[in-house]
Symmetry: D2
Subunit: 337 residues, 4 copies
Amino acid sequence: MLVVMQQGATDEQIQNVIDRLVSLGFTVHRSTGVLHTVLGGVGPADEMDPADFEVMEGVKECHRIVSPYKLASRYFRPQGTLIKIGKVEIGGPHIVTMAGPCSVESRDQIEKVAEIVAAQGAQIMRGGAFKPRSSPYSFQGLGEEGLKLMRAAADRHGLLVVSEVMDHTQLPMLMTYADILQVGARNMQNFNLLREVGRTRKPVLLKRGNSATIEELLLAAEYIMSGGNYDVILCERGIRTFETYTRNTMDISAIPVVKKLSHLPIVGDPSHGTGRRDQVLPMARAAVAAGADGLIVEVHPDPDRAMSDGAQTLSPGQFTEMMQQVRAIAAAVGRTA
Amino acid sequence: MLVVMQQGATDEQIQNVIDRLVSLGFTVHRSTGVLHTVLGGVGPADEMDPADFEVMEGVKECHRIVSPYKLASRYFRPQGTLIKIGKVEIGGPHIVTMAGPCSVESRDQIEKVAEIVAAQGAQIMRGGAFKPRSSPYSFQGLGEEGLKLMRAAADRHGLLVVSEVMDHTQLPMLMTYADILQVGARNMQNFNLLREVGRTRKPVLLKRGNSATIEELLLAAEYIMSGGNYDVILCERGIRTFETYTRNTMDISAIPVVKKLSHLPIVGDPSHGTGRRDQVLPMARAAVAAGADGLIVEVHPDPDRAMSDGAQTLSPGQFTEMMQQVRAIAAAVGRTA
Amino acid sequence: MLVVMQQGATDEQIQNVIDRLVSLGFTVHRSTGVLHTVLGGVGPADEMDPADFEVMEGVKECHRIVSPYKLASRYFRPQGTLIKIGKVEIGGPHIVTMAGPCSVESRDQIEKVAEIVAAQGAQIMRGGAFKPRSSPYSFQGLGEEGLKLMRAAADRHGLLVVSEVMDHTQLPMLMTYADILQVGARNMQNFNLLREVGRTRKPVLLKRGNSATIEELLLAAEYIMSGGNYDVILCERGIRTFETYTRNTMDISAIPVVKKLSHLPIVGDPSHGTGRRDQVLPMARAAVAAGADGLIVEVHPDPDRAMSDGAQTLSPGQFTEMMQQVRAIAAAVGRTA
Amino acid sequence: MLVVMQQGATDEQIQNVIDRLVSLGFTVHRSTGVLHTVLGGVGPADEMDPADFEVMEGVKECHRIVSPYKLASRYFRPQGTLIKIGKVEIGGPHIVTMAGPCSVESRDQIEKVAEIVAAQGAQIMRGGAFKPRSSPYSFQGLGEEGLKLMRAAADRHGLLVVSEVMDHTQLPMLMTYADILQVGARNMQNFNLLREVGRTRKPVLLKRGNSATIEELLLAAEYIMSGGNYDVILCERGIRTFETYTRNTMDISAIPVVKKLSHLPIVGDPSHGTGRRDQVLPMARAAVAAGADGLIVEVHPDPDRAMSDGAQTLSPGQFTEMMQQVRAIAAAVGRTA
């Protein structure tokens, strides 16, 4: 903890800060400069909020110097994390594709999707069973029946299953049917849910909230890992900005930044990242070029008739084209897809 | 639904859009202009996503013309909504103050707060019992014991209680102790929770998500109201922008905009809105000047020793000063506080 | 300059940073902690960019501890700055109103506006002579003829004139006709222009850019002041966020934050801040309640026929109502208007 | 122009809107729905601001249906624009690299850079002669002497020159030394400057403002093109968001979106886009993968001693590595680099 005092801060103000730091268990070093006094506090209380000091009298600013995340930091595991689920490896040289519909709609639909995506080289099928929608009058998902249909279709085609757990009460059900538990963007800071998935030993796909910083994403991963579950896959799926042409702005730079700061694998979601199917292919290519360990995309046999998210969902033909392009980019960065 | 075709859209492309609109139950009017053909679809399917049409071939843009919210719109109840809880009225001429600590910490603490805020004219006590924090190593709240302590202290001082329900499993417990159910910013689009609070008949304090538009806030209110619970109080508590000096940017303009678009009452939260106790007073004044029906602020007997959110928490002296200032502003806009 | 080294940084990396700091004229203090080494550099080179150190090998982060602005900081002149122009004082207890059309359109129009705004207590007339518009096909302003008309109308009604200088070549002309030189939001970081207005001794109204932080606004003021012109009036006029209902999000909190960090007066511009005339009144009230030293608003005899910015322009009746409301709020905060 | 009336709008309100549209030269079609009346105005006045109608009594919302840009739209030139300067083609299958220092500092520096970048296949040298900096105390550039040095070095190595014109008074000088006129991000809406460069016949590199939408970027291009200069190269260089790890968030999706909406070539600037040299390579790869027609990057013989922007500047070795990687990605998308 570094506390920079204002110009002209009084001795009493400085002493108050020192006293508070000491009372919290810090050892304090004081440097007196021409303009500012700086207090460096070394101690155990990493979770202190710098804002608590910034509002003290005479304080100019305060910086935390110990990483708020440790288990998630690159330093903890410099060689990177490889997550193995059966024959699938996430975080290695092969770029993993997760593909499937926004929602499971019917046995026929999910079977068709499974066939299509498996044929093109996807290893994991995505699909939602619970779809609490922004309109209370819309389709809300098939629930457990949807999970059963997806599991069966995936098994027939040798695919793994990733599906979203909306809250901790759904965890037992998702544990039964899914190979990877998805924590959605809106739940990135649902700490109850993070704690519960951290107690399982299922891999977790953690999506970045649409107004979350990269640091907050890593702190959410830390939350899960602190429960003992180290198999966290991060996902960049777009942040909210002033731009309106795309639904979100996909922050491609989050991919190399995460690779620098953390050892965890990261995948890109160009479907949610753009909200427009006509932008999914170039953004899938960009994500892989920037170093993504995988992609997660929405695919439907007939996107114009999808019950949710049709605008950002690829047709089988588009998905095939995407896979060809992604393989070319993967080769250009020394990987496979 | 208005669909604007691109310049040069073919007859086939236009016909595809018309066919799709008709298949969804719309009656379609076609206007052929010099540059663009415009299709106006009138029909029942208000929840259509304009993006579904925007990705069709030949379509330039698409606009939804029926409000996505109805129950929450000003048109539904032009005179405004007055929520009555015992002797307290929210949405009327008296500006209601909700005040209390971020977290309930002890019997002594909550008793002191209750005494202070009641003495200064607050009618409702706020306080959190469940504090899933961004760091997994921090204080997580007293749970049900905290609710009991808060209820008892509130009763001794004639205060109502507002407290956050973190997920739907906590609802029975919160129903027992609280007069108003708070849905936090991170849960603004937790549709499971919205549906469940919509089935109760307890007033709900719905906080705007930090990257939610005003329309999305109203749609979340609609979600609750569609369950039959019309007693929704909206809350502006800051949005995320590029500015870093304040934790969030409190969007004061959301207050008069909500008053124009909706009949629901709206309160301002300058504690979360700024994240800095030294900015709470001016922003409380601004919120009331802009037309807020109430305020919700954090108060603690000793903010520097608060177990959470101390930086944005007022001392008793600051709270007293705030109430004096707010009363003066209220009088200037023809209200009381 | 505080440089925090990464966990595990090598001695060579640490020495490289020390050497670089020393070569730039810093005296360096080294603190070795359990996890991190921290280097504190005290020296003359305040304008160093922390990013230059953050990309060095082994560096975790870097913080600048000397304010990047000095002349603009509150510490430089704790009592605040009062700008006097004739009988008008900006920054004192009286809240100054600047009002007038977006563009000067005709002798008749500007005369009517001058009469209206003077009658309601405005002391300064605003109006644009150069209107380079976002569409190249729109009305571009009357140029010098417009300035002459505005000057004459202002003089007849005892008003001062504020008008925008679009680039440094217009400065001589603006010096002739205006009492206050406006630097627009798009020019907030036009350093050529800032330098030139800094060489004059005319008061400057400096508008915050729509994606500028408060620190950047103060640094732009510093730029002007470093030329010897200390009469800078800051203006909050809305920042760009994801919200689309309003054209910009008026950051009311910038007003009290600037009052804390700087001694310069600040005014609010609810016309540009919201882009909607139906939101100007509540936001004018909010700005004054939050501590603004003045307001700048657009007024036109017939806003629906204004040649630019009509949507955010008040009618004479609305302006009259605004002044009444603002006077009530001013009284509530112990000021006049 | 489509005007959607509110539910319950009166006949008088509807007639007022119709009258206003007709007075502006529109032909009006009226559609009366169950809930809303919609007025479709077809006419010449494309530059109308929808906000002017949105503030009228009884109006719910208003949409403009004619593109605000025409010359810049893909429809105007479906095959795309190829800009030829000597032997260099921008917008064709070869991806063009522009590289050089932030500022020209000395004959020796610019000669070294020219040698390095030419050897690696760059065709255009970038470099600034005027550097009005955010701190008034920093290096401000060599001015015309810098342009002479850059021109000479470029000529020796067969490179073209791109350099920024800060305002219209510098145009004659830049016309003398540069092959491409750069309009910087802060000047993207400096309409005086846009008009003047539009009157020249030099190619223009137009950078997106850091809070500009894609539509606003295209409208700025339209402004230049309306003067007769069709050789506009767009540049994505990062937008301002809440993320702080990178200086800006490089909006990679702007590249494919611009390719869809417009015929103009677009290049990516990963130096400004990220502000960090350690993120330039992955983002250069991503830009090319997403379809960029070129790259512009900062290179210096000794970035740690660069007089400006060192943190985002590549060393010769890093630039060499970037070019190798970019060539691999280019091949993967069927192009050369």
